[in-house]
């Protein structure tokens, strides 16, 4: 089984209001196809860690590899296209662009990547929406559908470029239990059927317990992997 993501001795400091160590010698690796939860209390540094793993935050010490490509020390001009191609991100809030239709929202990252032509992107976006059961909402503005549907569209957007790794920052934090179940099943299916790697930050214990693996953090250190 190949390693999807690996981090070595990651340290991070906040300098405001005073120098404070948020992450302390964090090291672990995640295999391709694993469904991993990072848990911990508020302030344990789990979200901070996730944003480093997602390559959005570059202000840290230590080494980060995704698919054996070293990403630590690289700048955003390299990381942005990498993120675009290899990482799908889901937030606690859907963060769809309200001026665009659901379909356009899903298409935008793929249009940016430019890997496929417009027709193919549209077909693939429809396919993702169908996978998530919101195909019938495709042409509505993103601001005019329900919260659960919005989060599903957001997941479709994360999947559009066929990333190997999907990261979620409390992806179900804002959903009722029925929608949470839908999203969980979706993640399950993505790992089992499509061999995607999923890393989510959550403090929903039920959700975490049903994952393949839990990484637990306390005060910036990993206490169990």
């Amino acid at each position: 089984m190949s390693i999807a993501l690996q981090c070595d001795h990651i340290n991070k400091y906040f300098t405001e209001p005073q120098r404070f160590r948020v992450l302390n010698e964090v090291s672990f690796s995640i295999n391709q196809g694993e469904f991993v939860s990072i848990t911990g209390k508020s302030g344990s540094g789990k979200s901070t860690l996730l944003y480093i793993l997602s390559t959005m935050d570059t202000d840290y010490e230590g080494a980060l590899y995704i698919h054996e490509e070293q990403l630590s020390g690289k700048g955003q001009p390299v990381l942005a296209p990498f993120r675009n191609a290899h990482i799908g991100f889901i937030f606690q809030f859907h963060y769809l662009l309200p001026d665009f239709s659901c379909l356009r929202n899903v298409m935008i990252p793929a249009l940016r990547a430019g890997r496929w032509g417009r027709e193919e992107v549209e077909a693939r976006a429809y396919e993702k929406l169908r996978l998530l059961g919101v195909e019938d909402q495709a042409l509505k503005p993103a601001s005019k559908i329900s919260g659960g549907q919005q989060q599903r569209v957001a997941i479709a957007r994360a999947l559009i470029n066929e990333p190997a790794i999907i990261m979620g920052d409390e992806p179900t934090g804002n959903l009722d239990s029925r929608n949470t179940a839908v999203v969980f099943d979706m993640f399950r299916k993505l790992t089992a059927e499509f061999n995607k790697t999923i890393i989510t930050v959550t403090h929903d214990n039920d959700f975490a317990q049903r994952c393949d693996r839990i990484i637990e953090m306390v005060d910036g250190s990993i206490v169990s992997t």
Binding site: S47, Y51, S54, M56, D57, Q76, P77, A80, P81, F82, R83, N84, A85, F89, F91, Y95, L97, D99, F100, R104, I108, P109, L111, R112, A113, R118, R157, N161, D169
Partner: protein, 414 residues
Amino acid sequence: MKMGVNTEIAFTYLISRKKQTLVAALGVTFGISMFIFMNSLITGTNEYSEKAMLSATPHIRLYKDHAMSSASLLDNYLGRQTVNLIVNPQLVPDDNRIDNPEAVMQLLKRNQLITAMSSQVSANVLYSHGGVQENGNLQGVDILQQDKMFDISSTLVSGSVKALDNNPGSILIGVGLAERLNLQMGDHINITTSQGIVKSLQVAGIFKTTIKSIDNARSYCHASAVQQLLQRDRAYITDIFINIRDHHQAPAIGRQLEQLTGFTAESWQSNNETALAGQKIRNIIANSVVITILIVAGFGIYNILNMVIYEKIREIAILKATGFQGKDVIGIFIRQALFIGMIGAIAGMVFGWLISLLVSHVYIGAGNVTYLPVTFRIRHYVQGGLFGIATSFFAGYIPALRASKVDPVQIIRG
């Protein structure tokens, strides 16, 4: 239509905020229409006043000035063994004639830049008819050449230049003089010089230039008539009037002709310095008004884009999270600014043209100005459009740069 994803996002943002887009574009429209209108009116006014100046003045006047006494004759007589100096040199009185005018004209004809030439001999005279007398200036010219230069034909209210050309004993007078002396076509007018020589000429035409000082005093006749009045020979010529292809180059070409002929050249600009200074001041006033308007329009775009970016900061963070780079974000907002600029510029060109058209139909009727002089130059419209788009670009670039520096982690995590 095929367009990039940045363009598509920029367009969607603009369309979802129609009112803001419109207000920003209206700022540009206003700026550019004022730019075009101001430039058209100022150019029109300048051209009008230049035309008025050039209807009475040639581009270059060639004449012989009094010269300072020089030591060249002493050098000839005494030789160069000693340095010959003249203490307290004086201006040597001369009769100010162009020596050998035919040869000079032949020489000038070879210059490709010269479009028209006319030799002159003028005299200050007393016009008299039926006991009434008026002062004036009689110009002896080859009327056909003079007509080519100043378009006298178009100012004639009666008679023709042909009639003058055919009859050496005839004269063209101004409409003011005709009224004061009660002269009609075919009447005879007595001309008296300061030396007391009298000559009678027949009125062959009456012109009206609307410039009072000319209509009241100037008259044209054959050069031979003036030469007779002055008791001079047939080669007596005091000035050569020269028109050139581009009248803005008159001072430079004038200097060349001075070198070539040895006579003094006076350009129309040096003759009309006050009027030209007025033109310059008008240009400065108009340009400062226009620049102010464009800057205000620029601030309008800047404000609106800043507001859009403030509203969209979360969406910008998301775009960056999904793989958009700083330069993509700049691209998105610059496109918005440029689109606003383009819409504004096109509307501004149309609107500027409409204002110019409207103003060119405003009747003034002051002096010899009938309607406001307005030009319609493609150049002004192109410049206006380019200025508008450039202003929009710079007004958009600053907020766009700010947007590109948005840190997605900070925004998304709050």
